[in-house]
């Protein structure tokens, strides 16, 4: 792959190209591949480093320091402070996510078009279907093989069956998965088809260049047109990329609005309308060892309540993170570690109605605000109840709801059945996290309510495009990677047409 490490750039460095792309996650990679195939000279800029799969750390802490933005400890402030998990590496979050793949649900697509008929051409169902077919083929997207699922995934299937809930193996972008359970630390065997192993090498084969460890600090404009970007290399040199044709921002729903704000491009509700899928994890303890760090990281999901904004997934992370969720402090905590192999974590993710905001904070750091609404809390209460009942139906002896104000350990199914109506209503009673972010550079026809046009062009700055999930009008209610890939591909086609 054609990667220049910014750590080696100590002096001013200038690059000329047709299109500069900020970010190498799914959005940036999809745009780069499409443009490079068309013969466009593309340069991608990435703040993180390029890490080979063989160098991915074994333990969760080292993986988070190496591959995650702010070691996954950046927090969305609000009535329930929640960590915001994002990757920071060549390949973006695709390097450290669970490889979960969902097409943009038709009901979500149709809802967007109904709300803004101007989006109909961009979101043409037939064009998207063709793009999704190609993505699924190229990334080996297929349901998780039962042979590598491991007990934690099979137990969810058993629990959902008992409750009569619709469920299925998760479709994932993997090839030859061995069920190592290390997706969230980066697959050491390179089985996960993350962008650094798939679309980016393909783009580079067609002439694209990647500048890693270069933090873009501003979009440059001249006479109302984007003409390039400037950034700071890890080696200390200033990097200037002059883009003859266009600048495409694909840095995520946090970093893209930040970059626009820092560049003085403040048109529209930039940074506003932040939407997300807050989620909480619940613990089940089984008599037999389950070893949740083994088997496909996230291999099964329950989708029966998806249209009500609630989705359930198996979780799989390093024992260092599992342990921190265990009950107790001091000796009780140490003693509870003996239960580690018996624990399974399942999560509920919510298509929440909250609207947050991204601002530029101290020293240019993102200041993220987000509140869980009463509706979001209600969904979580329902989700915890369903998860608890699924755990018991799957054979768990104990469940740990993880909600302050409710018994830490529940052994009676009737006690968890009451959770939906009697569980805590304060948002901060729950320990959640945010993994999917949308809407901070909303795409719409009306320039007063949007940052970019339906063809991904910025409403007021010519030659400037946004391709990541910040353009999504709303949260999707499902894992967004494949939808991001598809819409970014549409964005690239619009760049080619311009």
């Amino acid at each position: 792959m054609n990667v220049l490490d910014g750590a080696t750039i100590a002096a001013p460095h200038r690059v000329d190209c047709d299109v500069a792309i900020v970010g190498t996650g799914p959005a940036g990679a999809a745009v780069a591949r499409t443009l490079a195939h068309a013969g466009v000279r593309v340069v991608l800029l990435e703040e993180g480093r390029w890490v080979q799969p063989r160098d991915y750390p074994t333990d969760g802490f080292s993986a988070m320091t190496l591959l995650y933005r702010d070691m996954g400890a950046n927090v969305a402030m609000g009535n329930a402070p929640m960590p915001v998990l994002q990757g920071r590496a060549v390949g973006g979050t695709s390097v450290v996510n669970g490889a979960i793949s969902w097409r943009l649900p038709e009901d979500v697509r149709a809802g967007w078009v109904t709300d803004d008929p101007g989006l109909a051409e961009t979101l043409d169902a037939a064009e998207l279907r063709t793009i999704f077919d190609g993505i699924e083929r190229d990334l080996g997207i297929a349901p998780t093989d039962v042979a590598v699922a491991g007990p934690k995934n099979l137990l969810m299937a058993k629990g959902a069956d008992a409750l009569g809930l619709e469920h299925r193996p998760i479709a994932r972008n993997t090839r030859g998965c061995e069920g190592l359970g290390r997706c969230l630390q980066g697959c050491p065997q390179g089985h996960k088809q993350s962008m650094d192993l798939t679309l980016l090498p393909e783009a580079c084969k067609h002439g694209a260049q990647i500048l890693s460890r270069v933090k873009v600090t501003a979009v440059q404009t001249e006479a109302g047109r984007a003409v390039g970007v400037v950034g700071q290399a890890a080696g200390g040199g200033q990097v200037t990329v002059h883009a003859r044709h266009a600048v495409v921002l694909a840095a995520s729903a946090i970093q893209t609005p930040m970059l626009l704000l820092q560049s003085g491009i403040r048109h529209g509700p930039v940074g506003q309308n932040l939407q997300a899928h807050p989620g909480v994890a619940m613990v089940g303890q089984f008599a037999e060892p389950v070893r949740m760090w083994q088997g496909a990281t996230q291999g099964h999901e329950v989708i029966g309540l998806r249209k009500e904004g609630i989705k359930f997934e198996v979780l799989g992370y390093d024992p260092g993170i599992i342990a921190s969720r265990m009950d107790g402090m001091g000796r009780e905590f140490s003693r509870n570690l003996s239960q580690l192999a018996h624990e399974v974590h399942w999560g509920v993710a919510v298509r929440a109605q909250g609207r947050g905001r991204v601002r530029v904070g101290w020293r240019g750091r993102p200041l993220i605000s987000y509140n869980l609404t009463p509706h979001g809390v209600d969904c979580i209460r329902r989700g915890v109840r369903v998860l608890g009942e699924m755990f018991f139906a799957a054979g768990a002896e104990r469940v740990l709801p993880g909600a302050f104000g409710w018994p830490a350990v529940v052994t009676d199914r009737s006690e968890i059945a009451r959770f939906e109506t009697e569980g805590p209503t304060q948002a901060n009673a729950y320990h959640g996290a945010i993994t999917h972010l949308f809407g901070t550079c909303k795409m719409a026809s009306d320039p007063t309510h949007a940052v970019v046009r339906p063809d991904f062009r910025h409403h007021t700055v010519a030659g400037l495009y946004v391709a990541d999930s910040s353009v999504f009008p709303t949260a999707t209610g499902v894992n967004p990677q494949t939808a991001i890939l598809a819409l970014a591909t549409v964005c690239a086609r619009r760049v080619l047409l311009a």
Binding site: D70, M71, M329, S338, R365, N428
Partner: protein
């Protein structure tokens, strides 16, 4: 952590060790060498986490001084008292104190499971 004073680091280490102490049947965090852990944490932790960890260190070291039954800083408490104090913080209705306790648990867990010997002892391979 680079700007932390030596005594602050000692206080933090005492808090972390008491969060995941040794048991008769298994070694805990006190047996883990954290020499290489600190610089990795210092380099990667965002400002809010560093601030939170420092606040945790000061508040949990000195809060026992004003709590009935303790009346001494954390480092001067007996092992039983330290255990009781941390357990109380983990279940306090005061959200901020619970968050500080959760911060300690996260850092202690990361540190323990970064150590290959500790992973093996708990049956985690690799």
């Amino acid at each position: 952590m680079n700007s932390w004073l030596d005594f602050e680091m000692r206080w933090l280490r005492q808090l972390l060790d008491a969060t995941l102490p040794d048991l008769p049947e298994r070694a805990g965090l006190p047996q883990v060498d954290l020499t290489s852990f600190w610089p990795e944490l210092a380099q990667s932790a965002p400002p809010l986490l560093r601030l939170g960890l420092r606040a945790t260190t000061w508040i949990f070291t000195w809060l026992p001084v004003v709590l009935p039954g303790y009346y001494r800083p954390f480092y001067a408490l007996s092992a039983d008292q330290q255990d009781a104090f941390l357990s109380r913080m983990g279940h306090t209705p005061v959200f901020m104190l619970r968050q500080l306790a959760a911060t300690l648990k996260v850092i202690a867990s990361f540190a323990l499971f970064r150590d290959p010997a500790s992973r093996r002892a708990l049956g985690v391979v690799p």
